[in-house]
Symmetry: C2
Subunit: 466 residues, 2 copies
């Protein structure tokens, strides 16, 4: 495999299709790229200069080496400028332009011509018909969506690869709002060349990426995808949201030839074998990618719930113990050792419950949360922790964030945190997200995240990795 | 049944246990009640005056009639002041004080004494060990939780009755943050007298209440509860979140004697027969209560999805078509009539999809959303509408809120709206909530809300009401 470094770690970038109009796609991308500090080359035959940079009629006129080119010109012109890129020896090309395979027969033929042009060359293409890419640590923002409408998330620990443009944009918007960070975002569009398989291989080696999230509606080569996934998932967790799992959904997704075929049960089995964690919607894909990037795998099914609200402990228990899929996740409530219970009794108020769920009651203090989390971490009967960190009780302060951070990062056991509430809670949730705590705003989402950690643990044990 | 009007529509209120310390429970409640404009009587034998109101040693010393008394004194004093209330002929008493049945044998005996005191009288008791009640349209805020930590939601269309204090507080906080309104909030505590059954009967007749949400961990008299629910639900939808559906969850909930017994499947069947919509967590109970309060029932299973993001249409389709409980809600994607499709083609861009999901594409305008919603409303093959109103696309404006409001309120078909995204989307979501549009921030929550409307429709048809 050729490395895709030209896309995600370029030194020099050409933008083909900058324009006097600052609102055109090429101009927007160039403007955002000026923040990267990379060598930039605006390309437009009618301009001598763009935003203070010397402009060139073609990439072939640029006297220096170019690693990456972003093409944002009308579809009819794309073959010509792509040929220039190949002749210039550019390794990475992102084709933003639409009007290809997605529009019908004529577009398909045009896309075939593009494939012809790169055949045998070292030029690799992402797109066409895509939003671009975003690599926050390198300050590479090659997206044409306006930041005012589509703000960018901060740097983080998982890559999000999206076949759907709209889902990609909404993801970025959502992630930015909640402070969820990404190592990269890749919109793959029509996948004429670079596919999900090569991106999997690339991000398996990408240092800043701790988990890989894929939103797919078609899979180009099912067999190869599963083979690669199986290798990669031994190293890094992969979460896949595959649209079109019902026949009606598949029709809507208009699955392409060569896609991973078979019923949903078959896909489910294949994914499991390949160690792929499956997500079913736009929330789960992020929820699972985050927890897998932030937390260690769970090595058994036994969960302890630490809560200050008894009712929420009950709901969590019901979800944990119910069979998987049937309003539950099929895990087990841990039976705490007598030693743990005794020590809990020593630190908690007399009317607290030291059984599982451990109910610290509304009189809980920060210190009691701290001590309880320490004790359940030490209990050999516990495989994972669900901490319901509620901020409405009178003796809990912002310090609770430090406490859950400590046990999230330095505890022996994997931990998921749930906080439920309004404006103040939302502020605490964002702060916890900033610190890479696996925090969820609802019990169900938190419990499902634990299940993802458990599936990860099962797979790694089966593979002999753990 | 005696009416519970003394609680929810009183003219005069005594607060027993105001104190010079403004942070004591009684003082907080009195302070909030001053906003109600009701006649108020602070009770404290050591005070002549409180916040400018004449104070009395006992309710028996008040020269006027008192409808409602709120008791916030130490548990040992409660019997004495409750006896005063009975002798004064007060119809409604809320006992905030804790230290009764929930604390053990001694507390249980004390609670039995309270029952003795009211026996044969016209005095009814909510509590003890509760947070109080909140009736926004009457400005009755008899809750002791501080507004700074536990803000109050606006006036709205459903009542939330909670057996869990913590779940009640977190609900209020959540609802206030998202602008979700309530007709009333009732914390029922130990239910020594007024139970869920009488509250059901009362709110069945409560004009401002369009739906009833109950969070229960025990049910006092299962048979009677189901009988009453069956009657009430013909008139108003009831949503119940019953904690303790697994045996481990039931242990955690410490189910009381006389509770609705039997396995979860039995409860499920009984709830269905009684027309109760079941919620499984703290989000579903609000999600279902809202949609049932805001929208009409769905008379068949056929859903049309109107979206501007193709990928999200696919996810919605998969959830709609999958069997209920198995990563889906067991509804059907509607087959639009040829006439509808043709008319859609006339108004949409050529690359839009006029099949179901109707994909308006990222080039959608407000007007196209409007026209599409009009056309699917008219289609005889459609029983309900899921509108994915996405605000990231360039030609959609705030007017989209007016459009979904129009079709939510004046369309023929029930409609649920989903918006996914960040800061701007969150603002639009709050505005839609203010206008009582059934808006959800995720596809799964929106699809489940449609399922609740469908279950409601099934029940009303089976009962011959529709």
């Amino acid at each position: 495999m050729e490395s895709l470094d030209a896309f995600f770690n370029p030194q020099s970038v050409a933008v083909i299709g900058v324009s006097r109009n600052p609102n055109k796609v090429g101009s927007i991308i160039f403007r955002y790229l000026t923040e990267s500090g990379l060598k930039l080359y605006p390309i437009n035959p009618n301009l001598d200069e763009f935003m203070g940079y010397k402009a060139y009629p073609s990439v072939k006129d640029v006297p220096d080496k170019i690693d990456l080119a972003v093409i944002a010109v009308p579809s009819k012109v794309v073959p010509e400028v792509l040929r220039d890129c190949v002749e210039k020896g550019i390794r990475g090309v992102i084709i933003i332009s639409a009007g290809f395979g997605e529009t019908g027969e004529e577009g398909r033929r045009l896309e075939e011509r593009l494939k012809e042009i790169i055949r045998g060359s070292k030029t690799r293409v992402i797109g066409p018909n895509c939003l671009g890419i975003y690599v926050p640590r390198k300050k590479i923002d090659a997206l044409f969506t306006l930041r005012e409408r589509s703000p960018r998330p901060p740097a983080g620990d998982f890559v999000y690869i999206s076949q759907s443009g709209a889902a990609g944009v909404a993801f970025m918007d959502y992630a930015a709002h909640y402070g969820v960070g990404v190592s990269a975002f890749v919109s793959i569009g029509n996948k004429m060349d670079v596919s999900e398989v090569e991106l999997l291989e690339y991000f398996a080696e990408h240092e800043e990426t701790k988990a890989i999230a894929l939103y797919l509606e078609s899979i180009k080569d099912g067999r190869r995808f599963l083979e690669v996934a199986k290798k990669v998932s031994k190293k890094k967790p992969i979460v896949v949201l595959k649209g079109g799992r019902t026949s009606r959904g598949a029709t809507a997704a208009a699955l392409h030839t060569g896609s991973l075929a078979g019923s949903d049960a078959v896909i489910d089995g294949a994914f499991k074998q390949a160690g792929i964690i499956r997500a079913y919607d736009e929330e789960e894909i992020i929820d699972f990618a985050r927890v897998l990037a932030y937390q260690k795998p769970m090595l058994g099914p036994r969960v302890v719930v630490v809560t200050s609200g008894g009712g929420y402990g009950v709901i969590a228990t019901d979800y944990i113990e119910s069979p998987y899929g049937d309003k539950g996740v099929g895990l087990k409530m841990a039976d705490l050792t007598e030693e743990t219970k005794e020590k809990l009794r020593e630190v908690l108020v007399p009317y607290a419950s030291v059984n599982n769920p451990v109910d610290l009651t509304a009189d809980v203090t920060d210190e009691q949360y701290d001590k309880a989390l320490e004790l359940v971490n030490k209990d050999p009967n516990v495989d994972g922790i669900l901490c319901l960190a509620l901020f409405q009780t009178p003796f809990v302060t912002e310090k609770l964030v430090d406490i859950v951070e400590k046990w999230s990062k330095h505890g022996e056991k994997p931990m998921v945190v749930v906080s439920i509430g309004g404006t103040y809670t939302q502020k605490m949730i964002k702060e916890m997200e900033r610190r890479r705590i696996a925090i969820y705003p609802s019990i169900w989402r938190g419990v499902k995240a634990l299940r993802a950690l458990y599936e990860r643990g099962l797979y790694l044990k089966r593979m002999g990795v753990l």
